[in-house]
Amino acid sequence: MILVVLILILLAAGLLAWLTGKWNSVVARIISLAALLADTVILIIAFALHHTYGQGTWLIDYNVPWIPRLGISLHLALDGLSVMMLFLTFFLGILAVLISWKEIQKNVGFFHFNILWILAGLAGVFLAMDLFLFYFFWELMLIPMYFLIGIWGHENRIYASYKFFIFTQAGGLLMFLSILALYLIHGRHTGIYTFDYQALLGTTMSPVVAFIVMVGFLMAFMVKLPVVPFHNWLPDAHTEAPTAGSLILAGLMLKTGAYGLLRFIVPLFPGAAATFAPLGMVLGVIGILYGAKLAFAQTDLKRLVAYTSVSHMGFIMLGVFAFNAMAYQGVMVQIIAHGISTGALFIMVGQIQERIHTRDVARMGGLWHQTPVLGAMGLVFAMASLGLPGLGNFIAEFLILAGTFQTNILMAVIASVGLIVATIYSLKIIQKVFHGAVDTTLKMNDLNLREAFVMGVMVAAIVYLGVSPQQVLDTAKPALAKSLEAKAHYVLKEGKVKDKQNTFYLPAVFEAEQK
């Protein structure tokens, strides 16, 4: 029940914010903030009360029929993976409200309605354990995001909002067909027609069918993540969205793709995923290098940051298809670290644009003199982006590369080059924006208290993640292990242990816990 409450609070607060926003914009902002804080507190309490797995697979499980005639239930469940995703959702949600305090002055109520409904959709995606419900939430967040980009975005917002919607919707509909196929295949085999995730887990399919069905899911997740041939919508959407929109897009919406890979692709289609793995890793590596290269070529600062996302998401793709515990831990950390570091870079761009009304790198320079605090923050997150040890991203990328090295040395080696390119573009940000000749025509104030607070919290988060990632790793571990178990089980059952690369490798960190 508590899980339903989490989502309902956001939906109700969204409506309330819309209604009150007409009279008083501050009230709408406070309502949004209060709802997100309330959700965070509820989640902390709920997690503290139920932090051990009992008999079942979930920490908290809520399952009531919704449309029983078609085997659809309102099944929400929480495990370590969902908890981390939810914390990230509420954390970035709070920041999104805070950073919009001054930036958004038009239709404040409706703006917060959209923010809260996107977050509700995201929370639903991370909790839904019924495939229909999952798809429902998956689609639910698109419309408010479309409005967010289309109404409060920058110059080319209409084009970007269309592109965003149609790309993600096309991917989503293919997944929809696959969900139906899975439902029917399972129904025909067992006589039980259900969309329940756990019931569908053991569906038996011929390898060819499994692969085709998997491709539908994969398309949705690869568009969202995004993986390189499908990344086209991302730079436009991220660049044109208001800062809060970019923050949510980069920090959370891309992560639904990563979450989908971990939660659905590997457990539901272990065999097909293994078949796809070599290609998946290659796509990941291409994403890392191509995204980084394009990032370096940009003159629009926001676009530059957007392309770094493509590069960082390549690591996730690589890690997921490396199929081992170390890489999966890396993926988990990457999900959070990228959410924080790239989110912070977007906030920084927003703060610069708010002051000098341009995102063109060529027109910036020497900003450090006027805004040393902003400059220092920018430096921290540029370093995070290039993977400096001590910050979260380093842990993530190191674990992913180390994990990949065990299964595919070549891919790991090529992907490592991505770290060098990342260094180049990150240093470019610092050099072009903060260093260089001082342009005296640009008048800038340094961060005010609110902005400094937001940035300070994010710095603290990324440093904490960098020096002490164990908390995150421990929380997500059982859920990630389950995902890998499905794969291992499949390998054992099919007896397809052909070479060492595909052998299931379980590092000591996992084994110690499980025995």
Partner: protein
């Protein structure tokens, strides 16, 4: 006729008697509001009487009518739609200077034709119902005689509908030649037992499909739709888009199931081609439209294409999905055209994109309802259209119609573009301008429609239960 026959006919009798009473009333007093209120109450009474006569189903008035739960379900949908159309018409025509009391008489006769179709079990009732519906539509479409477009649309519809009726009639005659019967039940038993189907029957069935295709405006028989939608007064467009199409779907679904159409290879190919053509043509031509009514006309072609898929499913899930989709489509279309009707002025209908530019900032409530209906047409969650599309694809895939399901998915993405274009237009920022107040009744209708769309989108189980009980 027995007493039971009369009981089963009560809903139809009510809407037959009502126009006579209106005619008598008009000879003494001409009061538009009174007539409109009376019409609404008559439709409401007829609607309520459906639940009263329901327990008597199924009852056949041989050989012409069959009153089963299926036909009553459709009668209920038709009458509910007519109630809303009556209110929209009242609001719309109130400001017009034409003689407008007779409008409701024609509306009743038209609804009678539609209800006959829902209960038709014989070629005679099929044809009579269809013609009653069509002939009244000529008048309704051209009702605003001072508008050239309205008259042009009426004449266009007159010619095309007459031709299609002739083709339909010829098709029926051919089927009769081949089978020796015009009753659906006897046709059904003929097709169950028949070893081979004679070419007469095949050609006849093909011609029936052509005739019905005209009425449903599926490609390649769709040419009249945009002109008629554009020319007809907005409430009449609402009526054509929802009730007239719904009634034809009701009879063709029954006919197709009776003749085991999904087992006949040639018919399956024809329907498949028509469905795919309708989806692509409808959606592609809608992309570049700048007139709201034309855009919705093309969108309706595509939606009827989606719906035709269910003729081929051949399962009870398919029929239920078709009925659910139709209900969702009807309620959604009542919303979209209702908005157009309410925003229209005395001079012209609000069918240009300019009428909607920045609507969200001028009339947020209307814009929200319009957005909701468009999203429902596009099949986005929390609206009725989402559940409807889901059920449709599920039933299609369940019957192995992968190609059609895939085409539907592709078309959903194409369709999304122009629905979003309308939504984007409404959120376009414009300067402030003073906005005249809109009729209160119109808001009530929109509120009801919005509530139903959301209700069906979030808790559809009750309607699925109802539909599940109704069977052919």
């Amino acid at each position: 006729m027995t007493g039971l026959d009369f009981i089963c006919l009560i809903p139809l009798l009510i809407i037959s008697v009502a126009p006579i009473l209106i005619m008598v009333t008009i000879t003494f007093v001409r009061n538009y509001t009174v007539i409109a209120a009376f019409s609404f109450l008559a439709f409401l009474l007829a609607f309520l009487s459906v639940s009263y006569v329901m327990p008597y189903a199924p009852h056949a008035i041989a050989p012409l009518f069959i009153f089963d739960t299926y036909s009553y379900l459709f009668t209920g949908i038709i009458l509910f739609g007519c109630m809303l159309v009556t209110i929209l018409s009242y609001v719309y025509f109130r400001r017009q200077s034409v003689v407008k009391e007779e409008y409701f008489i024609i509306l009743f006769v038209s609804a009678l034709g539609a209800s006959i179709l829902a209960a038709a079990n014989h070629f005679v009732t099929f044809f009579l119902g269809l013609e009653t519906l069509s002939v009244t539509l000529y008048i309704l479409i051209g009702y605003l005689r001072q508008r050239d477009q309205s008259v042009e649309a009426g004449v266009k519809y007159l010619i095309l509908a007459s031709v299609s009726a002739a083709i339909l009639l010829f098709g029926m005659a051919l089927v009769y030649t081949g089978t020796g019967t015009m009753n659906f039940n006897e046709l059904s038993s003929y097709f169950v037992t028949a070893k081979a189907v004679s070419p007469f029957i095949m050609v006849g069935a093909g011609m029936i499909i052509v005739g019905v295709g005209f009425k449903l405006a599926v490609a390649p028989f769709h040419m009249w739709t945009p002109d008629v939608y554009q020319g007809a007064p907005a409430p009449v467009t609402t009526y054509i888009a929802t009730i007239s199409k719904g009634a034809v779907i009701a009879v063709i679904l029954r006919f197709f199931v009776d003749i085991r159409g999904h087992q006949n290879h040639a018919l399956v190919v024809i329907i498949t081609v028509i469905a795919i053509l309708s989806m692509f043509i409808g959606n592609f031509l809608a992309l570049r439209q700048t007139n709201m009514k034309r855009l919705l006309a093309y969108s309706s072609i595509a939606h009827l294409g989606y719906l035709l898929i269910m003729l081929l499913a051949g399962t009870s899930a398919g029929i239920q999905a078709a009925i659910f989709y139709l209900i969702a489509y009807i309620i959604t279309s009542l919303g979209t055209f209702g908005v157009i009707a309410i925003l229209s002025t005395v001079q012209r209908d609000a069918d240009s994109f300019d009428d909607y530019r920045g609507l969200f900032w001028r009339r947020p409530w209307i814009a929200i309802v319009f957005t909701l209906t468009l999203l429902s047409l596009a099949g986005i969650p929390i609206t009725a259209g989402f559940i409807a599309k889901f059920y449709l694809v599920l039933a299609g895939v369940g019957s192995g119609l992968w190609l059609l399901a895939f085409v539907l998915i592709v078309n959903s993405v194409i369709g999304l573009y122009y629905y979003l274009r309308v939504v984007a237009t409404m959120f376009h920022s414009t300067g402030k301008e003073n906005v005249p107040a809109l009729p209160f009744l119109g808001h009530v209708v929109l509120a009801v429609i919005a509530a139903v769309i959301l209700l069906l989108g979030v808790i559809p189980e009750w309607l699925l239960d109802i539909i599940g009980k109704f069977s052919l």
